[in-house]
């Protein structure tokens, strides 16, 4: 296998809507930035992987064909990946495999998604209409019309089984990520909030409140992956040393043993750690980006990533372990709650964020890099059944 480096990052800010840009135009903007960052041009790209989560949201099937054409890449290999809110991670894994295997030398890995084109003329509630379209990606026979928030089932089962986290600990995640987002110019929400404000905001699914839930938005994000022999030092390469994905419907059985766990994240991270040789993520990682689709999910994720025992996530946020200035900052970008979210883009964005952190180019939100290693991971899908993890290293091995 060839070693694979990320040499380019291109991000657009998460916004509620980009009314003046089509999805292929957003893709062009992100691709331009990523290639410019890599010091490459479109002609250098030997294949592309597109992370486009949903067709319903953009009223377009096989959007990858239109994007590939729009970018002028016709005739070169292309592939679309869709895996719920974990799409971006699965796409990076696919792009990595293209390079590692020798199939391709320079891969443009691009996530784009519009969401708020979905409209409801009667109510004018675009976000509600978009969520409704999104629910079609749940199990339409055995989940709908109820279970539109699969994480909520995991969270109450987790709290019952492990006796935590508390409502205040969950709120603290939102406070941390919203504070982090203030330092991120690409973030959707850049106003800090207090624990009281979070707890007083509207309950959505107890114990989760509105301020503990990510917004749905629009964005595009890209990374450029190249084979080792093509890497130039001025590209400030960051190496992909571990990848993992895991399909595991977390709400199917929920036996006494497996209830309240986010199994796809456990499976994906263990696979990525194994490949990267990570045995103690608490000390061997400098920074983590994860999918805090809701605040409670971030606390459950800590255990799945091996940062604590199951049920101990609340203690970790209490002691500031994952704070911006803590031993292992989690979501310095602001995460999904602060930076923003749209399935398909978020995973590419998180990967780019870790690359920027490891390069020392994260500006105001730069965290200390000691071990030279970071983790981008994502979870999503029906039954919260999709997980991906990418270990990135400054120096590689």
């Amino acid at each position: 296998m060839r070693r694979v480096a990320v040499v380019g990052v291109g991000q657009l800010p998460f916004r509620s809507r980009y009314p003046a840009d089509r999805f292929d135009e957003l893709a062009m903007m992100a691709a331009k930035r990523a290639l410019a960052d890599a010091g490459l041009v479109a002609g250098d790209v030997t294949s592309a992987v597109y992370s486009v989560y949903s067709e319903l949201l953009i009223r377009q099937g096989t959007p990858d064909v239109m994007i590939h054409d729009y970018l002028g890449l016709n005739g070169r290999p292309g592939q679309r990946v869709t895996a719920g809110a974990a799409s971006g991670g699965y796409a990076v894994k696919t792009a990595w495999a293209d390079v590692a295997s020798g199939f391709s030398d320079v891969v443009l890995c691009l996530g784009v998604q519009k969401a708020l084109d979905v409209d409801d003329p009667e109510t004018g509630q675009r976000a509600d209409a978009a969520l409704e379209a999104e629910s079609m990606t749940l199990d339409t026979t055995w989940h709908l019309p109820f279970s539109q928030q699969p994480w909520a089932l995991l969270l109450t089962a987790h709290m019952d089984k492990f006796g935590g986290p508390t409502e205040e600990q969950i709120a603290r995640v939102a406070v941390k990520n919203r504070a982090n987002a203030v330092r991120n110019p690409n973030a959707h929400l850049r106003r800090p909030v207090t624990v009281e404000e979070v707890l007083d905001s509207r309950l959505t699914n107890w114990p989760t409140t509105m301020f503990e839930s990510c917004l749905y938005g629009e964005a595009a994000s890209a990374v450029v992956l190249v084979a080792e022999e093509l890497v130039r030092p001025e590209q400030r390469p960051v190496w992909i040393t571990g990848v993992g994905t895991c399909h595991h419907n977390s709400t199917d059985e929920m036996s006494a043993d497996d209830a309240g766990r986010v199994w796809p994240l456990y499976g994906a991270s263990r696979q990525a750690y194994r490949m990267a040789g990570v045995t103690d993520p608490r000390t061997e990682l400098d920074v983590v980006e994860l999918n805090d689709l809701v605040a409670g999910l971030e606390l459950m994720s800590y255990a799945e990533l091996g940062l604590c025992a199951p049920g101990e996530g609340g203690a970790l946020i209490d002691e500031g372990f994952t704070a911006f200035d803590g031993p292992l900052p989690v979501n310095p970008s602001g995460g999904r709650i602060g930076a923003g979210h749209i399935a398909g883009v978020s995973g590419i964005y998180s990967t780019g964020e870790i690359v920027q952190q490891l390069r020392g180019e994260a500006g105001e939100r730069q965290v200390p890099i000691r071990a030279g290693r970071g983790l981008a991971c994502m979870v999503g899908g029906a039954g919260l059944g999709l997980g991906a993890a990418i270990v990135l290293e400054r120096d590689g091995r």
Binding site: M29, E132, P145, Q148, Q149
Partner: protein, 167 residues
Amino acid sequence: MTTTGVDLPDDAVDADDWFEVPDELHYYYSYSYGGVSRFFREIVDNQRLTVTRCELCDRGYCPPRRDCPRCWERTTWQPHPGTGTVVAPVYCYWTQINSPVRRYVQPPFVYALVRLDGMTNALHTLIHTDDLRVNRTVRVGTRVEVRFREQRRGTLADVYFVPVEQP
């Protein structure tokens, strides 16, 4: 060059000359429930709950499965009394304005993963209770029993559960 996303790219300056067109997408489906058709037919016609069991490994399935995921063997049908236990509840205080669940209930409501007695997997379903806002008494371990709606058309929402005793 470090253009990694701190500033808006030159070409992302907001234009104000975009044109928006209203559009809509309608589809109608008549789809078969295939090997689990019996589950829905029994609910609609007879107000009876049926589940499947793998004779090789003795695992029971509700949601029913025609094939055992462990053995890849065909399962067989059994009647079920409709009693079970809440594995995970969700106290839902908000849902989309156009959510199809609003055909049956308005927030706040409880939905839950319910393991029917003797089953390996668990069913996503509504729990009818009237004290959600105050007490959230439906909890992990709450015993529940199936009920059938008057109007049944062959979907998961034709049944719901009610608590029968507390853990």
